[in-house]
């Protein structure tokens, strides 16, 4: 039996996440792994929006901010369990994405990029300035999720790093599985058709605006959950999470790895999360190396690293 690309991606992901810890020289690598998974989850959302539906968002960090602050605020102010706060954040993000996207996505072109940019900056400003609620730019503590303690009682004693590594890993596998299923569904095919040619898609009777809106809402939920996981893991969050640079980072990761591919998203997230750790010795050149990597990828691997390489492998096999 030949593996479909979908099962191959998922299988590779499961094996990587399960086996990588064998090679970890210290507990620090669990933290890096967990960060990669959190970023990869948000970037998977970007793949759905940008890679498949062909829309660009420059404000996705805003949704990450909503997810993160939902986990910080809801348990304290309304006594909601942190796990439910993740869902609440995702719901708020989805509703906001729907409200912003509905008028904008009826238009053709790059209007979403501009609208989402403004939205992201607005969210970031609210988090910075509504000090009574968010405690402002200095940040706010986030309550403990409590799952680790439950696992400990059940006889599974994980360190903090290990717990978040596996927890985020499982959420990422779930997210990738959902995204890959979506890709092969009628909606996914319609999205890709729309990306290929909006006019052609409209001609064959697709509701283009609705499809684009769906993709935007779904990707907002991915970003929101990723923000929640980051907040719960760090147990402290500042408005930086909703900052413009974080939005750009997400898009960069997607473009680097390959914006049309979930595997590429995870690869891009892994590279851009690892680079600053590898480059600590020459921290001053970090930006330079990042820029260089991006330019080289744009010139030589135009579809992003993973799809370009896969194509080369397949091409030589024929």
């Amino acid at each position: 039996m030949r593996l479909t690309p979908k099962s191959a991606t998922l299988l590779a992901l499961v094996v990587l996440i399960a086996l990588a810890p064998v090679f970890f020289p210290s507990g620090f690598y669990y933290r890096v792994g967990a960060l990669i998974f959190v970023n990869a989850l948000a970037v998977t959302g970007i793949v759905i929006l940008t890679g498949w539906a062909g829309q660009i968002s420059l404000g996705h960090a805003g949704f990450a901010g909503i997810g993160a602050y939902a986990c910080a605020l809801a348990p304290v102010h309304w006594g909601i369990h942190p796990a439910l706060a993740v869902l609440l954040g995702a719901a708020v993000s989805a509703v906001l994405a729907w409200l912003v996207g509905r008028p904008i996505l009826r238009l053709k072109g790059y209007y979403l990029a501009v609208a989402s940019l403004g939205m992201g900056i607005l969210i970031s400003m609210v988090l910075n300035n509504e000090r009574e609620l968010t405690r402002g730019p200095d940040g706010i503590e986030v309550p403990e999720l409590g799952l680790r303690a439950v696992l400990k009682d059940a006889g599974l004693d994980l360190s903090n790093g290990q717990f978040w590594y596996f927890f985020c890993g499982i959420v990422l596998i779930l997210g990738a599985w959902l995204a890959l299923n979506l890709r092969d569904s009628a909606t996914g095919r319609a999205l890709r058709a729309l990306h290929g040619s909006e006019v052609a898609a409209r001609t064959v009777g697709m509701d283009v605006a609705k499809l684009k809106l769906q993709a935007f809402v779904i990707s907002a939920v991915y970003a929101s959950v990723s923000g929640s996981l980051l907040a719960l893991q760090n147990k402290f969050i500042t408005p930086d999470v909703a900052g413009f640079m974080h939005s750009v980072e997400m898009v960069t990761m997607a473009v680097l790895g390959g914006v049309g591919s979930v595997a590429g998203a995870i690869f891009g997230a892994a590279v851009l999360t690892l680079l600053p750790q590898v480059l600590t010795v020459f921290a001053e050149y970090e930006q330079l190396v990042l820029g260089l990597v991006m330019v080289l990828v744009m010139i030589f691997l135009r579809e992003g690293v993973v799809p370009s390489i896969l194509r080369k492998i397949r091409g030589s096999g024929e």
């Binding site: 620090f28 730019p137 200095d138 790093g161 600590t280 921290a283």
Partner: protein
């Protein structure tokens, strides 16, 4: 691989006696807080080099493992994890901003590693966390020092104009809280974005408020310099107070000697090293740091590098007294620090007080003719 092993073996043979004490640092040497982090990192590197040249600590070499967190709390947490888990340091200095500090302390408290923060907010040490200490005064103390001086000058109604960055926002809130203790009423309360290029609108409003006797400007970075210039341009002839956030020569340069004439702020002994009395207990340490830093970097000392100096001083003093580099022993020794003169003030820690400074550590300074002077 073989070469590597041989080299390691040779190195191990060559230096068997010299053990290491690894101290970690996560500092915002670049990014929005670089003007704080850069002198902090330079100070730490300089002091470690100097200490090792003098024979190290308890006969062991001190190794500084420093990372630049860009002022990003998420990165700070990652580096703190790296310092604890991978580099296995015995203590951490750092956390240039309140956000990065709060991220680091979550890791160090968990791992039971002593941590000395270089950030201002009172939340860092209140409630007291067993392994967390800090060297800068809190913004609350700055408010108290300023209000004390206002009270002495018969000022009871003031206008505030604050930056909306972390520093300005936190100090604005603290000042509002302690103002009633000094019978001071805040009758105008304006804010500005740290990137704003003009604050005349807010200042005009304060100027127009009936009964304002003085203006206070909590903030750091370029904002306060612009406010200072605007105050002069609007010819507002009221006592004008700045915060410790701008206590460096850079502020006078940016605002101009003319506009900053008469500005008062609470600062540390470091700024007025030349004016300290010969018998001032802080004089030797202030003079030594100033001379060393200015010779090494060619730039004038500032309050922020001084925070790092004091953190390192407290750390090394504690390790010497503990006679051991075990994290728990270092923590106990830091908490037992008593009467240690640093550049910021004289530190005495207790189990209930992990800041170790009181109001006397602040000195009221006034700018006259482009120079800092002491207000008696």
């Amino acid at each position: 691989m073989k070469t590597f092993l041989t080299t390691t073996a040779l190195v191990a043979l060559a230096l068997p006696a010299m053990a290491e004490i690894k101290i970690g640092a996560s500092i915002s040497a670049t990014g929005p807080a670089a003007f704080l982090g850069d002198p902090e990192l330079k100070t730490l590197e300089m002091l470690v080099e100097d200490l090792n040249a003098k024979g190290g600590l308890n006969g062991e070499e001190v190794v500084l493992v420093a990372y630049d967190d860009n002022g990003d709390p998420n990165k700070a947490r990652t580096f703190a994890t790296r310092l604890v888990e991978d580099d296995e340091v015995v203590a951490i200095i750092g956390g240039t901003t309140t956000g990065t500090t709060m991220s680091i302390l979550a890791v160090t408290e968990d791992a039971e590693i002593p941590f000395i923060s270089l950030a201002g907010a009172i939340d860092i040490i209140q409630p007291v966390k067993p392994f967390t200490f800090k060297t800068p005064h809190t913004d609350r103390m700055a408010c108290q020092k300023i209000f004390e001086d206002m009270q002495k000058n018969g000022i009871s109604k003031i206008g505030m104009i604050s930056g909306t960055d972390g520093f300005g926002a936190s100090m604005q809130a603290q000042c509002k809280e302690v103002a009633p203790d000094y019978a001071i009423e805040i009758i105008a309360d304006e804010t500005y974005d740290p990137k704003d290029a003009d604050m005349t609108a807010q200042l005009t409003k304060i100027k127009g408020t009936e009964g304002v006797q003085a203006i206070l400007n909590p903030g750091f970075g370029q904002g306060p310099s612009i406010v200072t210039r605007n105050v002069k341009q609007l010819a507002i002839d009221l006592p004008f107070y700045q915060s410790h956030g701008v206590a460096s020569d850079g502020f006078i340069e940016l605002a101009g000697a003319d506009a900053s004439e008469g500005v008062r702020l609470p600062g540390t002994a470091l700024l007025v090293a030349d004016l300290l009395a010969a018998d001032d207990p802080q004089k030797p340490v202030v003079d030594a740091y100033k001379a060393m830093f200015e010779e090494k970097t060619g730039t004038p000392v500032g309050t922020f590098g001084g925070y790092a100096h004091d953190a390192f001083l407290i750390m090394t003093d504690a390790i010497t007294r503990a006679g051991s580099a075990e994290p728990a022993a270092i923590r106990d020794a830091i908490e037992a620090t008593s009467g240690l003169a640093g550049t910021t003030g004289i530190y005495t820690f207790t189990p209930e007080d992990h800041l170790g400074l009181d109001l006397s550590a602040f000195r009221m300074l006034e700018i006259q003719g482009g120079k800092w002077t002491l207000v008696q």
